[in-house]
Symmetry: C2
Subunit: 191 residues, 2 copies
C-alpha cells in the first residue's frame, strides 16, 4: 500500500518551517529551497503548497491567521461576561510569547503588501471591527460611542502594543497592561 | 581645480535613493549596486557611505531619524501653548504623506533588528518619553498620571495609527484623528 500523506499535518510542518526561515532571515532569505531544507522535505513536496515568494508569504500568513482565529474563538466560546471575553481577546492579540514568530511573519507581510500597494484586508482589524459591532448590537456600548472611531483607536492601541512588546520597548507588566486595556473598555461599555 | 563634492548633499541623494529602493523592493532587493544605479553614482561613491546591507539599513534609518527630529524641533520652537505643540508633534508622527517612505524604511529596520535581536533604542519612543517627562517636570500633567504607563500607551497609539494609515485601514479624517488625540491629551493634562 502506498504511504498516505496527512496533508493537514504536512501543511503545518511546512508553515512552521516557513515561519522559522522568515523569522531568522526575513522574506529576503526565504525561498522554496531554504524552506524545504528547514522542513527536511523535497522541493517537490514544498512546491505543492507554493511556488513563488509571493505565494510563500500568503501561505505563511494564512496559517498565522487560522491560528489566531482559533485562539479567539476559544475565548468567544467561554462562559465569561462579554467584557471579560473581549479583554481576554485583546490580551491574546498582544501577548508575544507564542506570537513572536507570528508577528514577524505579519511584519514581513505588511511590508510586502505596502510595497505592492495591494493590502485590502487585515485580520486583526476585522476581528476588532466585528467584536465592536456585535457589542453595539447587543446594546453593551454607550450611546455616544462612534464605532468607526473606536475601531481605529482600539486597533491602533493593540497593534502598537503588540509591536512594542516584540521590540522590547514595554517595561510594564502584563497585569498592568491588562488593567490599562480594561480602563479603555470601561470607557466604552455601559455601566 | 578638482571638482569638490558636497558631502552633505551627496549623503542625502544616496539616502533618498536607498529609501526608494527599499520602498520598492524591500530590504531583500537593496544592495550597494542597486542603490548606486538608482542614485546614478558609481559603486565607489556609494561604498563611501556603507558597504554591507546592515550598514545600508543603519544609514537609511539614521537619515529618517534626522529628518523626523528636524520636524519635531520646529514644533517645539513654535510659540504655541505646550498642549498644542504636543498635539502637532503627535500629528507629525502619524501623518503619512511625506512619511510613507520613512515608515517603510522603519518597518524594514524594525523587522531586521527583531531578527537580529539587537534593538536597543527607538527614536519615536525616546521622543514621546522625553516630551512626557518634560511636561511632568513643568507641572503640566495631572498628579495621578503614571508616566511609564502613559508613555507605553501613547507610543502604542501613535505607532499603531501611523502604521494603519500607511496600510489604508483608517477611514476617518485627519481632523477627527487630531480630535481623538486631543481627548487623550486632555485626559492627562491639568485643566
Amino acid at each position: 500500500m502506498p504511504k498516505l500523506v496527512d496533508h493537514e499535518e504536512r501543511r503545518k510542518i511546512i508553515a512552521k518551517a516557513t515561519w522559522n526561515v522568515i523569522a531568522r532571515e526575513g522574506l529576503g532569505g526565504a525561498s522554496v529551497r531554504s524552506i524545504a531544507k528547514e522542513a527536511n522535505l523535497s522541493l517537490g513536496a514544498v512546491r505543492h503548497y507554493f511556488q513563488t515568494q509571493e505565494e510563500l508569504l500568503e501561505f505563511a500568513m494564512q496559517l498565522v491567521e487560522e491560528q489566531v482565529t482559533e485562539r479567539i474563538l476559544k475565548h468567544l466560546q467561554s462562559s465569561l461576561p462579554p467584557k471579560e471575553q473581549v479583554l481576554n481577546i485583546l490580551m491574546e492579540l498582544i501577548t508575544p510569547e507564542e506570537k513572536k514568530v507570528e508577528m514577524q511573519v505579519w511584519l514581513e507581510y505588511v511590508s510586502y503588501k505596502i510595497r505592492k500597494k495591494e493590502l485590502q484586508k487585515e485580520s486583526v482589524h476585522e476581528t476588532i471591527s466585528e467584536i465592536l459591532h456585535r457589542l453595539k448590537k447587543a446594546g453593551l456600548l454607550k450611546e455616544e460611542i462612534v464605532l468607526e472611531e473606536e475601531i481605529v483607536f482600539l486597533h491602533a492601541l493593540i497593534d502598537g502594543l503588540a509591536l512594542h512588546i516584540l521590540m522590547g520597548l514595554v517595561p510594564i507588566e502584563r497585569e498592568r497592561i491588562r488593567y490599562l486595556l480594561k480602563k479603555e473598555l470601561d470607557r466604552i461599555f455601559v455601566e
